[in-house]
Each structure stands twice: as structure tokens, then as C-alpha cells.
């Protein structure tokens, strides 16, 4: 199978959907003439022209609101935020307008829109440029939240997000745009709300999403050498998350570790933990564990970054302790 970059998978998804539906358009900072701050929209201005690929001023609140209004009037915007850190300025339009419009209007106005951009840590960028937003947006009824971890998922899930009639928050990563993976030729769409079992195993379940899932995969190899076979579930969709897949896996392995790139308090890990103790309490052979970023803003110095994020060794140790080994 051919191998392409994460950014190209996103690019193909947008191109295919824009060819398919005239009402889909892209707007954001540097998306047109600059070909995207991270080159995700490379070549799109040439193909679709300035009517459908639109450079905005630096005005996240304003262009997010314009996109929401256009979605109320029949268009299907894709809004690119250079990173989700900057989208905090647009949170009013995402949370107060897009997420609530359908309900407040008694079902009259839906907002088919995709908000997408880089999410999470990306090296020495300091505290304001290093945040993961899954838990923030998953908290809000009316939104769907997706975090792909590889090019194949990115393409299939972005196409699904663009076709969805609800507002979708789509969380990428600056660090992943250049990563490569197998993506078949031709169209495919992945279902929103379905997790993917990346690795089958019977001893311990690891649930994760986004780029940090790699530390689980790395640790899984080392654990296998010791005869411990972990099952790795990539959530893919954070809201609604695939409870059935996780619960079934825990019922099989009787142990659960959750690996998340963001902070621990009120995290996705917290929500999964609640659900699993409700649905599979009698199946658990050990208390659920989680590995998250430190409960601190993300500092600049490389030594502090090293300390803030979990590593494969931490996953290895956590699984061992869950196994009482």
C-alpha cells in the first residue's frame, strides 16, 4: 500500500469532499496563498480558487462566528485553526453558538461545521502553545470530538466529520503532520464513535488516542518480550467514545491503563474510569491506572518537558504494577 504523510491524508480528505460538495469550503489563517501554516491545504487554492479557500486575518472569534453563520445558511465550512491554543479566542462561537444552535432553535438550525487544527504538545513552545483540548470540548453536549493518531484514520475520520451534520472538533498535532503511514488509494470513510483495536492482547487493556498512543505501542513490544500481551485501543472519537469496545476489552483482560496527553483533572481518563467501574466493576483485578501529562502548565526547558510527559518506560511500569509483577 502507498505511504503518505499525515498532512497529505488530511489534504486528500478535504479535496475529495470539496469536489463532492460545492457547499464545503475552507477558511483560516494562511490556508490559501501560503498553502497552510503546516502545508495541510497545499494546492487547494489552485484547485478551488479564492471563493472556497479563504485566507482570514488573525481573528479567530470573528472567522469562527462567520463560519457558524454560514453553516446556519446552508454551507459546510471547514475552519482551520493554526493551533487549538488560539481557538480559545473562538470558544464562544464553538461552545455558545455552534454546539447549542440546534437545541436553542428547537431543531430548526443545525450547524454542519468542522473546526480543525493542531492540538497538544509540540516541543519547546512554552505553556500557551502546548495544550490538548479533548476534555474541554468533550464536556460540551452538541459537539463531536475526534483525535486521529495516524494518516489512515485522519483521512477517513476527517471525511466523516465533513459529512456530519453536527459541529465537529477535529484535533490534529503539529508533531504528526510529517509522520507517514499507509493510506489506500481511493475514497473511504471511517465511522465516528467507533474505536479501533490496534493490538490484540489478553493481559491488560490500554486505552489511548492521538500521538501519545505511540508510547503504549512501544511499551507493548517490550512487555511482549516478558510474556505480557496488552490490548491497545485507539479511541479515535472522544465524544461519543466507544464504551462498548472498551468495556468488552476490560471484561477480557480485567485490567485497564489509560494514557492521555493532557492533564489529569477532569480528563478523558477520569470519564473512562467512571464508566468502567460502573459497567465492569466485578471484572477488575486491579484498580484502574492512568498516565497523563503532569498537573502543571507545560514548561519550556527540555528537562521539564521530559519530566512532564509520560514515556514508554512509564507505560511498562504501569502495566507491570497492574499485573502485580
Amino acid at each position: 500500500m502507498r505511504v503518505i504523510q499525515f498532512r497529505d491524508a488530511l489534504n486528500e480528505a478535504m479535496n475529495e469532499e470539496m469536489r463532492r460538495d460545492e457547499n464545503v469550503y475552507l477558511m483560516g489563517e494562511e490556508v490559501a496563498e501560503y498553502n497552510g501554516a503546516y502545508k495541510v491545504s497545499q494546492g487547494m487554492l489552485d484547485e478551488f480558487g479564492p471563493r472556497r479557500v479563504i485566507d482570514t486575518p488573525i481573528a479567530e472569534l470573528g472567522f469562527a462566528g462567520i463560519a457558524v453563520g454560514s453553516a446556519m445558511n446552508g454551507l459546510r465550512p471547514i475552519v482551520e485553526f493554526m493551533t487549538w491554543n488560539f481557538a480559545i479566542l473562538a470558544a464562544d462561537q464553538i461552545i455558545n453558538s455552534a454546539a447549542k444552535m440546534l437545541q436553542m432553535s428547537g431543531g430548526q438550525f443545525n450547524v454542519p461545521i468542522v473546526f480543525r487544527g493542531g492540538n497538544g504538545t509540540a516541543g519547546q513552545l512554552g505553556a500557551t502553545h502546548s495544550q490538548s483540548f479533548e476534555a474541554f470540548y468533550a464536556h460540551v453536549p452538541g459537539l463531536k470530538v475526534i483525535t486521529p493518531s495516524n494518516p489512515y484514520d485522519a483521512k477517513g475520520l476527517l471525511k466523516a466529520a465533513i459529512r456530519d451534520d453536527n459541529p465537529v472538533v477535529f484535533l490534529e498535532s503539529e508533531r504528526m503532520y510529517g509522520e507517514k503511514g499507509e493510506v489506500p488509494e481511493g475514497e473511504y470513510v471511517l465511522p465516528i464513535g467507533k474505536a479501533n483495536i490496534r493490538r490484540q492482547g489478553s493481559d491488560c487493556t490500554i486505552v489511548s488516542f492521538g500521538k501519545i498512543i505511540k508510547i503504549a505501542e512501544e511499551a507493548a513490544e517490550t512487555l511482549a518480550k516478558e510474556g505480557i500481551n496488552v490490548e491497545i485501543i485507539d479511541l479515535r472519537t472522544i465524544r461519543p467514545w466507544d464504551e462498548e469496545c472498551v468495556i468488552n476489552s476490560v471484561k477480557k483482560t480485567n485490567r485497564l491503563l489509560i494514557v492521555e496527553e493532557s492533564w489529569p483533572v477532569a480528563s478523558i481518563a477520569s470519564e473512562i474510569t467512571y464508566r468502567v467501574q460502573r459497567e465492569a466493576f466485578d471484572y477488575l483485578d486491579a484498580p484502574i491506572k492512568r498516565l497523563t501529562q503532569s498537573d502543571t502548565p507545560f514548561a519550556f526547558s527540555p528537562t521539564l518537558i521530559e519530566e512532564a510527559l509520560p514515556h514508554p518506560k512509564d507505560v511498562f511500569d504501569a502495566v507491570k504494577s497492574l499485573m502485580y509483577r
Binding site: 432553535s105 428547537g106 460502573r278
Partner: protein, 332 residues
């Protein structure tokens, strides 16, 4: 200010009936609210009726309308039977937003009324976005985006005005300038009290309009929307009006004098339309009485309808949150 155009007898009668309905509806809302017939907030439009009436008469079918939370009479002005607004205020399932929006969130897709919005100034970019949608589709519809003098201080206005000018979006921005953001006067929040000047730094054409004169509002709306329809971009109207009642029902109004209120009341837009009709002999006293009776009947019908309508079923809680009906909500 430009010379006023001549209006037909029919236009005056329509204005009168529509504005009288707005006034009587809002007076009834105020009474019902005090009687605790419904809860939530209640922001009345009394005194400002010419702004909606002139905007509606100056717009055409296909145009879109969006406003802030003082939104009871916008859908009525656009032709909605007041009973659907009253039922919404009561939180009933027959309301124009199925009892899910309430006082600040009236909607009507059928009438192109894109809401009632509760976050001050949020409708400014949304209004431009609705207009962007029509521009994208290539039709000549215009969006009328209303907000108060208070909302004009939000950063969203700056961002939106800038983009609307760059992209020549066909949106008429209407400041319903009643001089008070709750209890804070325009003069206390800005160094530039002439709000039409807000357009200047974007080179957006703008003008101040007498909001107590429905003819002036109508003419300004025509000028502004013609400009938009020609593809020349947005237009700003600083429509100077006055709300006779408090910001909401709990407002002691210590920020203004009784003299100021009575001075504005002497320029009452509804009285002016009535005088014009009487001066021009457009209607007999009997015909005017018939209008009053009709309006009274509509308001009574609205109250009865709202009182007698059912509240939403409990199952409605999980409807209209997502488009699909099988979304897996977390329920424990």
C-alpha cells in the same frame, strides 16, 4: 439626512398595525411576567418598534434577520403569529423554538429569522456569516444584523467589520442604539459617542438614523441594502432609539431621569405613525378602532394559546441536541 420618500396608505396602515401589535404584545409580556406566568429573563422592546417595522418594510423576501436577546417582536414584525412567541416565553412545546430557547432565543427558519442570541455581540460575526452564505451562493439576499450599543464594544465587532469589508459581505449592521448597555450609557463606555463613526476606521459606509421615525428607518434600510445588493459590501446604521422600560424586568433605572424618559416618549414612533395616518386621513376612526380590536384579539389569543399549550415531553430533553436521534448520551 436624505429626503424622505413618499409612502402609500397601505404602508402606513401596515406599520401602524404591526407596531401596535409589538407594543401591546410587550405590554402584556410585562404584565404576565410580573404575575409570574413565566420565568427567565424578559427584555422588552417598547419604544424601539420603528426599528423593526422599518427594517422589515425596507427588506425583501429572501433577506435574513438576526438579533440579540431583545427579540420578542422581531419574528412578530416578520409575520409570525404572536402566539408562537408567547408560547416560547411560557416554555411550551408549541413555542417558535419548541420551548427550548425561551425569551432570548426565538427562531424561525420559515421567516429567515436566524435568532435571538443571548451572548452579547455573538450575533455580529454570525450575521456576517449568514450574509457570507448568500454571497457564496451568488444570490442578492442581504442579512440585517442587529445589536445594541453595548454589544458594539465587543471585540467581535472589530474582527467582523474588518472581514466584512475585506470580503464585501452583503450585511447591514444595525446598532439599535438606545443609549444604554443595561445601566451604562454610551458616554460612559467610549470616547467616541457618535456611533456611526465606528464604521470610519474600516471605511465602512455608515450613517445615523432617527430610530423614532419608521419612515427614516425604512429609507436608511433601503439605502443600506441597495448598497449591499450591488456587491459593494457592508453598511452600518446607527439607529437612535429609546427603550421606555428597564433593561430587563428587574431594573430600577437609577441611571436616567424621568425627564429624559418623558422627552423621548414625546417622540413616540407609534404615535407619530398614528398622527400621520390621521393627518393624511388614511383611515377613519372606525377603521383605527378595528385595528386596535384586531391587535387586542391577537394578544389575547396568544396568551390563551400559551396558557393552554402543553409543556415539552420529558423525552424532548434528548432531542435536537444532535441531528441524529440515536446519539449515545451519557445518562448516569
Amino acid at each position: 439626512m436624505a429626503k424622505q420618500t413618499k409612502f402609500t396608505k397601505d404602508q402606513y396602515i401596515k406599520w401602524y398595525e404591526s407596531m401596535l401589535l409589538m407594543r401591546k404584545f410587550e405590554e402584556k409580556c410585562g404584565q404576565l411576567y410580573i404575575q409570574q406566568k413565566f420565568g427567565g429573563f424578559c427584555h422588552l422592546y417598547i419604544g424601539q418598534e420603528a426599528v423593526v417595522a422599518g427594517t422589515v418594510s425596507g427588506s425583501k423576501k429572501g433577506d435574513k434577520h438576526i438579533t440579540a436577546y431583545r427579540d420578542h417582536v422581531h419574528p412578530i414584525g416578520l409575520g409570525m403569529h404572536p402566539k408562537y412567541v408567547m408560547a416560547e416565553l411560557y416554555g411550551k412545546s408549541t413555542g417558535c423554538s419548541k420551548g427550548k430557547g425561551g425569551s432570548m432565543h426565538m427562531f424561525s427558519k420559515e421567516l429567515n429569522f436566524m435568532g435571538g442570541h443571548g451572548i452579547v455581540g455573538a450575533q455580529i460575526p454570525m450575521g456576517a456569516g449568514i450574509a457570507f452564505g448568500d454571497m457564496y451562493k451568488g444570490n442578492d439576499n442581504v442579512t440585517f444584523c442587529s445589536f445594541g450599543d453595548g454589544a458594539a464594544r465587543q471585540g467581535a465587532l472589530h474582527e467582523t467589520f474588518n472581514m466584512a469589508m475585506v470580503w464585501k459581505i452583503p450585511v447591514v449592521f444595525i446598532i439599535e442604539n438606545n443609549n444604554y448597555a443595561m445601566g451604562t450609557s454610551v458616554a460612559r463606555t467610549t470616547n467616541v459617542t457618535d456611533m456611526s463613526k465606528i464604521g470610519d476606521s474600516y471605511e465602512m459606509p455608515s450613517e445615523s438614523v432617527d430610530g423614532m421615525s419608521v419612515e427614516s428607518v425604512h429609507d436608511a434600510i433601503k439605502r443600506a441594502s441597495d448598497h449591499c445588493r450591488k456587491g459593494e459590501g457592508p453598511y452600518l446604521l446607527d439607529i437612535r432609539t429609546y427603550r421606555y422600560k428597564g433593561h430587563s424586568m428587574s431594573d430600577p433605572q437609577k441611571y436616567r431621569t424621568k425627564e429624559e424618559v418623558s422627552e423621548w416618549k414625546s417622540k413616540d414612533p407609534l404615535e407619530k405613525v398614528l398622527s400621520a395616518i390621521q393627518d393624511k386621513k388614511y383611515a377613519t376612526e372606525k377603521q383605527l378602532e378595528e385595528i386596535k380590536q384586531r391587535v387586542k384579539g391577537l394578544v389575547e389569543e396568544a396568551v390563551t394559546f400559551a396558557e393552554e399549550s402543553p409543556f415539552p415531553e420529558a423525552s424532548e430533553l434528548y432531542k435536537d441536541v444532535y441531528v441524529e436521534e440515536n446519539y449515545p448520551f451519557v445518562t448516569d
